[in-house]
Amino acid sequence: MRLIVPLRGVIQGRGGLFVGSLIPCCLFYFLQLYLKRRRPPPTDPTELPRTSSRTNLFSRGNSIGRVRVSSRAVPVAKPSDSPYYIGLERVKTDPYDRIKNTDGIIQLGLAESTLCFDLLQRWMSENLMESMMQSDDGEFDISSIAMYKPFEGLLELRVAFADFMSRIMGGNVSFDPSNMVITAGGTPAIEVLAFCLADHGNAFLIPTPYYPGFDRDIKFRTGVELIPVHCRSSDNFTVTVSALEQALNQARKRGSKVSGILFSNPSNPVGNILSRETLQDILRFAQEKNIHVISDEIFAGSVYGDKEFVSMAEIAGSGEFDKSRVHIIYGLSKDLSIPGFRAGVIYSFHEDVVNAAKKLMRFSSVPVPVQRILISLLSDVRFIEEYMTAHRQRIRDKHIRFVEGLKQLGIPCAESGGGLYCWVDMSSLLTSYSEKGELELFEKLLTVAKINATPGTACYCIEPGWFRCCFTALADEDIPVIMERIRQLRESSRS
């Protein structure tokens, strides 16, 4: 598309008709010439033995026979240069341990929670075997877990999932199991949705800062672009319709087709919760522009603030909107803290999307034994209630403790109400207020203070100095250690 833009300028400008006609003519001739050249010469049978003789001649030749991987696999194979992944890799080489490796790097970069492992541990030790081995008539039947089952998940699991989701979302909304596809985690769920909603080269609008993993999930294989819609600290990083509008128009001007809006609620990395009005505005905007809405609600149950969480499903179900454009992603990795189970779900109001996703689940379905465990875990209402209360309470406590510690150091956090992390404003520690300064600080945190926090650059935040710190995998006694390390870092950089 961009070929056309400069030419338009030429025609409307001085050069006028002459130049404007000369250029396309030249282009055409060259194209034709090129095509003619490129046409493969007719293959004659003598060519067959020739190639083989070549291998014989150069049997030592190194470069001839080397086989190549596809060009799209090359960027995937390359080590990532995003600080998010660099940090995660670094922690693996030298992880902090309270007793064994007190000098190691403390992980604040990975959103996982160990807060309620005691509860889970108890449940698993009591029920794990029974849940996997159970069957309808009480007798264990291997075929209930060993055989092929529908890829989109057993109906029982979908029912349990629907029930669980509406429970953690405050009971204001009910989910229909037939609109649901169980996936092997949130990551495949996002990829499958991207594949279903956008063609190669299309784009999604995405409010920044956003979760750095989206880059991989969406761009790696589906070829869908992400167009950042910048949000600012002055709005507490909440997306506005005017910003969306502007980004959409710019994208259209550049010729890329926008197929949808993707956002996370509670947002990752900021942790703020979108209000009912904002959600309505977004959906109204999407309806006007006839695009999809993907709402990633994977932290819906990890809400600890006073603000009420509203699911996009509730807005869509209000009857005011065309709901077929609404798609929701949910998973158990965060709210139930069982990322190892790799259980996620696509909830879509669009029949075609549900059907396509069901079929695509042949590539990333949840193993049946795991499904069995999940069915009993999710249907154990008493346990779930107990767990959710404890989960929320403990995140709240940890959040207060962590934020308080930072406050004492004079480091403020953005206001947040959900998620396993907080969004920390470290701009006071920057040597220069720029992306470079931020990355320098990231490097210093990693090597000197030995803390891995995700810098805002990795989340495409346009204001430098923000860091995402996940606090839910920390023990209470770790927090003073972190604060001490940050304090030392600040002092050493001042002196």
Binding site: N62, F117, D199, H200, R252, G319, G340, H350, P369, I373
Partner: protein, 557 residues
Amino acid sequence: MTRTEPNRSRSSNSDSDKNSGNVGGGRTTGMRVIVPLQGVVQGRGGLFLGSVIPCAFFYFLQFYLKRNRKNDESDNSGEQNSSASSSSSPNSGLPDPTRSQSAGHLTELTGLPRSLSRILLSPRNSGGAVSVSGRVNCVLKGGDSSPYYVGQKRVEDDPYDELGNPDGVIQLGLAQNNKLSLDDWVLENPKEAISDGLSISGIASYEPSDGLLELKMAVAGFMTEATKNSVTFDPSQLVLTSGASSAIEILSFCLADSGNAFLVPTPCSPGYDRDVKWRTGVDIIHVPCRSADNFNMSMVVLDRAFYQAKKRGVRIRGIIISNPSNPMGSLLSRENLYALLDFARERNIHIISNEIFAGSVHGEEGEFVSMAEIVDTEENIDRERVHIVYDLSKDLSFPGLRSAAIYSFNESVLSASRKLTTLSPVSSPTQHLLISAISNPKNVQRFVKTNRQRLQSIYTELVEGLKELGIECTRSNGGFYCWADMRGLISSYSEKGEIELWNKLLNIGKINVIPGSCCHCIEPGWFRICFSNLSERDVPVVMNRIRKVCETCKSQN
């Protein structure tokens, strides 16, 4: 959209009236524009026409785009004013009667603003329905009418059960194995097996999605055992994925770009159409093998297919073989594999060797040779082109576990697929279950041995039974299938005749088998019968049902 173009351009551009005729003529030919122009340029019209036409094209395109963009903006501002009224009324609560129709229309995709203004005009219409991506349409439609999936559906609806539903459809189409398997093992020591590995931090936290090292070592050990210790597998070259489908998809993604193709000797597994084509955009070029050669592939045919594809401008990036072959169950000989490697070397392409049935070799005469063994002694340059897909759940008869492995010698492929496994990961409980199941070599040996014996006995029985009915099978040495020659039963020697017979088998005989056409076999009348589902008691039932179909066929003839 294109309809409005001439009007606009004519009114705005008076000095190119003459050209607009040319444009109209050119446009009707669509994509072929370049070809006639070339003729014009080289022919009489010469330089003049040859330059006027492309110029005209460019101008019109630019005017058109300009026009369109302006409309866009004005439309948008209009929308904002009316949005409040339009969004609340038109779609509220109305079911979308025509949504599924319009979702299929690609043309709707380009006309975003227009479809909106249409809502305003006729609010009842579903103009606002949002469309899904164009590429997902092939997934939606993809092969549901194929007998393979129709048959599965029928079995799901009405499954045979010896006691509960003796009239139901018997499943002979799906490669799952309930002969034995992990059953014994799970039943014997379930507690220890699962709870051992399942400490909460072990199963609940994030773990490498390409597999724990422990599991990789266990898998490497299992593969070594399955190949009868002829070659050792290096755990660092393994990447675990959730099922063979995703293993093949990941390899297709890594080895070929969109629009490239793989050679696949047919008959082949019906799943490739989905695994390779759906999301990666890679094409499959079938290389037919014939019954006269006992369905062995010949290098001459491969060569021919390769050059034909090259002539058409399709780049071949590799060849996918299955060994033991699916559906025939035959084993590739050492010579065959060497020839294949030579072929790949000469043409500089990859080899994907699908060895998902490596542990289910039941014949005594054949020797299973893994591609890994062939390249073990080769130089690096050749090893890098070999990629092996291995399915744990098939050989362990535990398809519900959904775990498979890619074994590759190519460092870039390995590092790319390691990252891609986050998109189809093996969950930690599964990994721990597998570790405790297969890390004990004694268990594995016993398991592989029992599996072989049971497969062998049921295979012999089934083939004997079919022989009595006058149905011959090709010699099968591995896998869960036999490849039955029912050419004698089809009414017309064509694909249609084959589907007719398949319908009879499904409706009269109530057995679900896979017709050869699903496996892209070019000779009609061959059927894939999966026997690993059957118990000894079921075989006579199956035989009776096939006999019934035979009789109806004969009476019709």
